[in-house]
């Protein structure tokens, strides 16, 4: 009898695959269901945003920052605006600061709805995703009230924000937050978060220890999921985040090891609650009247120099490194994003897990493909 030859199989997961969250390719080497390794192949969504920045004026680059991470468009706006403002030494009116915080936390809510919904969709639970999308719809409505756009908001301006609060926005936001805190989160948890199948799929899968997370420069909820209590909003406050009282949820190994997929998922669920708290405080403290924008000259030329500003985005730390040569366009702009560092750890995590686990791991990092490539 001829000897049976067994061979490992190479699978192309993506660029078009339902659970790669955009256009992302993974070269997967499998032995049946067990995976030997998965090599991420990024770059399919590279749009040259950093290069574009060198070709457009400072103000004109704002709409492009929406597209870095379109799931939470305002976060990109805010980071870029802060960078330019610090470089040029522009003061932002107080009301604009509050509006920025409200918009940024709403963006975090909107992003986490997609984040927790999509990972559950990857696990085959369709209904929680739809329930989360229903809440995101309200977030879209709120942002539409605020700035007229539903996905790419382009709300921040250098020196402030583009629109003042419309009538009824405050009430609607408060209602939304009440609904989230008192109804949605509990309902969602009862529906799926404590489901034993979900716990089985998530607990002890894709464990990232605190040291490993720091070594691979994981950021944001992925880092906090590994038990590292680091949040730029508290540890390196920007804008007016030092005025609010909120907790930093960290992974505690709720159903398994610290740093498993469940911890990352659970941190996001808790962050929804914390964001609600921040928005409520901001709405209460926000001055009724006041300017929303500092005037900047039409031909805006910040002084020569360089500046790095990092902000806490839903997908972790987003940093803008800006070099100005005194002209009207940036000389160089480098953007550092959270999904990119989450990609780097994937190859190590994927060794020896099952194909289904890889899907759960990618989902639990809440990767948005355009943010990886920019």
């Amino acid at each position: 009898m001829a000897e049976l030859v067994s061979q490992e199989m190479f699978l192309n997961m993506g660029p078009h695959h339902p659970s790669t969250h955009g256009v992302l390719r993974l070269i997967v080497q499998t032995d049946g269901e067990i995976m030997r390794r998965a090599i991420p192949d990024i770059g399919y969504l590279h749009r040259g945003i950093e290069k574009i920045a060198e070709r457009v004026p400072y103000q004109g680059f704002m709409p492009y920052t929406d597209r870095i991470d379109y799931v939470s468009a305002f976060s990109g706006n805010l980071g870029y605006a802060l960078t330019v403002e610090r470089l040029a030494g522009i003061e932002v009116p107080e009301k604009a600061e509050y509006l920025r915080v409200i918009a940024a936390e709403l963006a975090r809510l909107g992003s986490h709805f997609i984040g927790v919904g999509a990972v559950l969709l990857d696990l085959g639970a369709v209904t929680p995703f739809v329930h989360a999308l229903r809440e995101r719809e309200t977030y879209n409505d709120l942002m539409e009230m605020l700035c007229g756009a539903r996905l790419t908001h382009n709300y921040a301006r250098i020196g402030g924000v583009s629109h003042d609060v419309p009538e009824g926005f405050k009430e609607k936001t408060l209602r939304f937050i009440d609904h989230l805190e008192h109804e949605f989160i509990d309902e969602f948890n009862n529906l799926i978060s404590f489901n034993s199948i979900l716990v089985k799929r998530f607990a002890n899968v894709g464990v990232v220890s605190a040291e490993m997370a720091i070594e691979y420069t994981l950021v944001g909820p992925n880092l906090r999921g590994s038990g590292v209590p680091f949040d730029l909003r508290r540890d390196d406050p920007y804008s007016i985040y030092d005025r609010f009282d909120f907790e930093i949820p960290v992974g505690k190994g709720k159903f398994g090891t610290v740093g498993d997929c469940y911890d990352r998922y659970w941190v996001r669920i808790q962050e929804i609650r914390e964001s609600c708290r921040i928005i409520r405080q901001a709405l209460q403290q926000m001055p009724e009247k006041g300017a929303i924008r500092t005037k900047i000259p039409k031909v805006f030329k910040p002084p020569k120099g360089e500046m790095y500003v990092r902000t806490e985005c839903p997908r972790g730390e987003m940093g803008f490194y800006l070099i100005s040569d005194g002209g009207k366009n940036p000389y160089r702009l480098k953007i550092r994003t959270g999904s990119f560092s989450a990609m780097s750890i994937l190859e190590e995590l994927s060794q020896g897990v099952m194909v289904a686990d890889l899907v759960a791991i990618i989902g639990s990092f809440d990767i948005v493909a355009p943010e990886i490539d920019r």
Binding site: L123, G124, V130, R201, M354
Partner: protein
Amino acid sequence: MHNVASIIQSTLKNLFGSSPSLDLLYACLGYLVPCLAVVTVISMIGGILTLMERKVAGAIQNRLGPNRVGPSGSLQWIADAIKLHLKEDIIPALADKNLFRLAPYIVFVGTVLTGMVIPFGGSFIVVDLNVGLIFIIVAVSLIVIGLLMSGWASNNKWALLGGIRSAAQIVSYEIPSALALLTVILITGSFSMQTIVAEQGLFPWQWFIFYNPFTFIAFFIFSIASLAELNRVPFDFPEAESELVSGYNVEYSGMRFGFFFAAEFGNIFVTASIATAVFLGGGNIGLDPYDSGIGYQLLMVLVFFAKVIPLCFVSLWVRWTLPRLRIDQMMSMCWKYLIPISFVCLISTALWMLVFNGNGIFWRMSGS
């Protein structure tokens, strides 16, 4: 007179007289007509279940579901079927063409064959085989060959993984589901579906599910195992759309794809029917199914469907609520829990029959 076929034969004999050659014709007609009827009924019910699934999903997800074709979307499934028929039928260039063409029909045939021995209530059964239940178990296992075939023939790695998964899964879960059904066979002593139904009664305490604690457990084992055999969430590994894209049917399009889906949804109905007939009293309303008037017979059909539809609904409900297990968890659940428990049920029921002389908790077996 134990089925529709013999009723048709005798009616024809009375109408047109009898001779050896005519008798053969009558026999052919007698079986062909009910067979075609069952094929039609199962495909129609499969279609209606797709609509029901989308409506149920809509209700669960705060949506409306389909509401454009016909009154509140009630004709959507017909539009879907027409669309699938009109679509281009693509066969991949490197596929094994014959196997690729054959696979969907084998899956569909597996489903329809099962329908032949389902007692729809009254005398509405195509043929009341004396090995009816065994026939069902055998016919259902035919499906896995079709799935494996499609996975292999597609010449696609995702489809192959899906096919292998379906083979592993269905073959494993056949064991607990067959053992759960055999638990009831110990009570009836017959594999004939009509006999199994006739031994039960109209009222819940006369059903086999409440015969003893072990049949009660067996019913749930059968329900779980049949969910797995149906490839439904939480056991939809062969087509796990977020892992394997679409699994074994990833290369299929048009009506070939439609056959897979007709079979899948037809199977939901078939398994619900088996559970109804075996555990929930089928269409039994306490009357003799063969000697009752046509009105009573239709009432039996109504009772049968009144039990089947809630079971179908449960299958859809689970589909839209739970996430998917992982394949190793699914296999360990089968081999470590379901199979031992179903063996315990089988042996305990055998002992129960011995100790209690064939009496159930609530009722006494007829004739004992």
